[in-house]
């Protein structure tokens, strides 16, 4: 009370003026910031938010580009059509099989490479640089390269296996429906492993050395140290790799387009391929958009589950 009483009226007015000035400046700063952000926000709305909203709007109509004068509103009819189509569920099954194979292989091989690169040995830097090559190759070039490798008539795979004496005559690779998904997954893994390895390596570098020292003192061998120190500490990095690669695998289209065009038969009709066929070949934008939304929601749900599962352990 004494302190308050000792404050002069003049100083109170000055303090109020300062606060007012600061408030005005703050409001001005906010307005300026908004003004600067606005162009980007408009662009973002135009190229990202609007197309997302518009594609949802389209998914509620029976929009077929070759039937421009008849576009009836069907509500969630397209979603019902897609979800009640047995071929869609077969495609879902293939997508799951492909994704499990591709993500598991990417994570395991990526982890092994990260463990290798985490050790000191001559040529480690060169090996790290070489490792990035597959990741740096454009997707289309990667697809075409694997198409040549897998070709049954003149492919490098048949050539190598024949010369090494593993086979007596050229084998059919992509044309064999039992091998198709695994071969596409292999091409996917080849390209994706470098990124997974680097993300996991970064995670390994953040594990405190003290933990390993303490484990050694406790008598833990290399295998135990891996399972009880490295792997638990890698939780967040592993979650990132799993989520990213799962999303990539589920939505993957390039290799299916370049290597098999969904064939042979329907052996590589995954959901992404069906979306392409429905949208860009059949020009049926309504059902194509509905399928895309179903895929996006499924991916989102899966990502959420993976995050919950992996982060709970950390």
């Amino acid at each position: 009370m004494v302190e308050i009483a000792s404050v002069s009226p003049m100083s109170t007015i000055a303090a109020t003026a300062r606060r007012h000035k600061a408030a005005v400046r703050s409001s001005y700063d906010e307005r300026s910031a908004l003004l600067f952000v606005l162009p980007f926000a408009i662009v973002l709305f135009a190229v990202a938010v609007f197309p997302i909203l518009y594609s949802f709007y389209i998914s509620l109509y029976s929009l077929r580009l070759t039937r421009p004068n008849r576009v009836p509103f069907v509500g969630f009819g397209n979603y019902v059509t897609v979800l009640s189509d047995p071929q869609f569920w077969e495609a879902v099954q293939r997508t799951v099989v492909f994704s499990v194979m591709a993500v598991a292989a990417t994570a395991i091989i990526g982890l092994l490479i990260a463990l290798l690169l985490n050790e000191e040995f001559p040529g480690r830097r060169v090996l790290s640089a070489l490792l990035l090559i597959p990741w740096a190759i454009p997707s289309v070039a990667n697809g075409l390269m694997w198409k040549w490798i897998y070709d049954s008539n003149y492919g490098a795979l048949n050539g190598a296996l024949l010369q090494l004496g593993f086979i007596n005559s050229y084998m059919v690779w992509l044309g064999d429906a039992n091998k198709t998904l695994a071969l596409i997954a292999n091409a996917f893994v080849w390209k994706e492993v470098p990124l997974a390895a680097i993300l996991l390596l970064v995670g390994m570098k953040t594990i405190p050395a003290d933990l390993y020292s303490a484990a050694k003192v406790d008598g833990a061998d290399a295998v135990r140290r891996f399972f009880h120190v490295t792997l638990p500490a890698l939780g967040p990095s592993f979650a990132l790799v799993m989520i990213y690669e799962t999303m990539m695998a589920i939505r993957h289209f390039d290799l299916f387009f370049l290597l098999t065009e969904g064939g042979p038969g329907d052996a590589s009709h995954v959901v992404a391929w069906r979306i392409y066929v429905e949208t860009f070949r059949n020009l049926s934008f309504g059902t194509g958009a509905a399928m895309s939304y179903i895929l996006a929601l499924a991916t989102l749900a899966l990502a959420y589950i993976v995050i919950r599962m992996l982060t709970r352990r950390v």
Binding site: L65, T66, R67, P68, N69, D151, S152, N153, Y154, S169, Y170, V172, W173, L174, G175, D176, A177, T260, E261, G262, G263, P264, G265, D266, H269, V277, F280, R281, N282, L283
Partner: protein
């Protein structure tokens, strides 16, 4: 008292804006009057030839033409988008595969009223006219045509001691076995059954020569019919792959271009290959079997004939062109300049044939000494003319063709791989056809 003129800032801006607007309108009107061009769209083939022929047209008629092209692989999607977006197009190249779809969407108009164009019908093969016709109306004039040919490697047959190419599909099996037994080829017969645009042509050629059809005259599915449908053709392919082992199972991953490369490397005795590829196959710079790639009539099945499938690309006209009489007249002139006679001769058809080997549907050109000489350099012109006369249009070209084609191609591949029987595969195909027909 004289009124003093004042120029305020507001007046200045107003007058400036009015002046600019007036100039803009005048400029636009002037441009519109000077040249309201025709819009001509093609896929990216023979671009230089098109440009030079267009220049001659513009010089002769004074009609300005805006030419645009898009890659073949994306042409349908590009054009559909342009149609929906109401982009200006007066005449364009159209594939017979898209005719019903585009005609029923109202993007193409019939040309029956233009006798200048329909007058050429008497000089082109019937399947060409059929391929440009939808619901009894003709939609264009021929650009280029070709058919699926039965090509054989003469040198390989000679080595195998075979004197003449097969006349029937049974003989194909017999001769292929001889070739295989003598170690001349692992897969003597070449088929390209990958899921791509060419697939329907390969299948249709096999079916027609076996005496079958995909659909009847009313457009109902008969492909599943054991006698008149496609079962015999599919069974022959399945047996050739699985039982006789004269076709590689990798045929389901082999596209048309890969097949061409494979045949030109000398690995096969027989192949179904588009006829225009004969030129490449007999070009020493591009083929190991140059001089030995020969064409024979399509082998026939038990109740079949030497029939094959033909395809047609033509100049179509849009409603935009037809809406205005002057524009329509100029568009007809342009279509005739390219698809018919220009200065009394089939100049563009000849140019395409000479430069890129594109086939023509014009019967009289088969009698043209210059054309015969050019053909003779790489093919038997008599057989080619005879086979073209036996070509038939695809009987599955409907607005729902694309959607059905994916299912049909997949069904054939599954049968070839032994996953389903030919009967099951064709039932799947027929069911899809009937569903789509009902929905249309």
């Amino acid at each position: 008292m004289a009124r003093r003129s004042t120029m305020t800032r507001r007046n200045f801006l107003k007058n400036t804006a009015m002046g600019a607007a007036a100039l803009g309108i005048a400029g636009r009107t002037e441009r519109a009057l000077a040249a309201d061009p025709l819009y001509f769209t093609t896929w990216s083939a023979a671009v230089d030839q098109v440009k030079s022929h267009l220049a001659a047209f513009e010089q002769k008629t004074g009609v300005k033409v805006e030419y645009a092209n898009s890659p073949w692989a994306q042409y349908r999607e590009t054009l559909v988008t342009k149609f929906v977006g109401k982009a200006p197009i007066d005449t364009l190249w159209v594939s017979d595969s898209w005719l019903p779809e585009w005609a029923e969407a109202g993007w193409l108009v019939p040309v029956d009223q233009y006798k200048t164009l329909t007058g050429y019908n008497s000089d082109v093969d019937q399947f060409c006219v059929d391929s440009m016709t939808h619901d009894g109306k003709q939609y264009g004039i021929t650009y280029y045509t070709d058919f699926m040919g039965f090509i054989y490697n003469g040198a390989m047959l000679e080595k195998a001691g075979i004197k003449a190419p097969p006349q029937t599909w049974d003989e194909v099996v017999e001769q292929a076995k001889i070739v295989k037994d003598k170690g001349l080829s692992q897969a003597p017969m070449l088929l390209a059954l990958a899921q791509e645009a060419w697939l329907i042509e390969f299948l249709a050629a096999m079916i027609y020569s076996q005496g079958g059809r995909f659909t009847d005259d009313k457009g109902m599915a008969v492909m599943q019919d054991g006698k008149d449908g496609a079962v015999k053709a599919l069974r022959w392919v399945v047996d050739a792959v699985q039982k006789h082992k004269i076709i590689s199972p990798s045929c389901v991953e082999t596209g048309e271009l890969a097949a061409l490369k494979s045949f030109s490397s000398g690995e096969h005795a027989f192949g179904l290959i588009p006829k225009y590829r004969l030129r490449t196959l007999n070009d020493p710079a591009q083929s190991k079997i140059a001089g030995n790639a020969k064409i024979a009539l399509m082998p026939k099945g038990e109740n079949g004939s030497h029939a094959t499938v033909g395809w047609m690309r033509f100049y179509g006209m849009t409603p935009r062109a037809q809406a205005d009489p002057t524009r329509a007249a100029n568009t007809v002139k342009l279509m005739e300049w390219f698809g018919g006679r220009a200065d009394g001769d089939y100049t563009f058809q000849k140019l395409l044939f000479k430069d890129i080997g594109a086939g023509f549907g014009v019967k009289s050109l088969f009698k043209d000494p210059e054309m015969r000489k050019l053909y003779a350099a790489y093919g038997d012109v008599e057989i080619i003319g005879q086979q073209q006369g036996l070509a038939r249009k695809k009987d599955v070209i409907t607005p729902w063709f694309g959607e059905w084609n994916d299912v049909n191609g997949s069904a054939w591949q599954q049968a070839v791989l032994g996953k389903v029987t030919p009967e099951q595969a064709l039932k799947t195909s027929a069911d899809k056809w009937n569903t789509l027909k009902k929905q249309s």
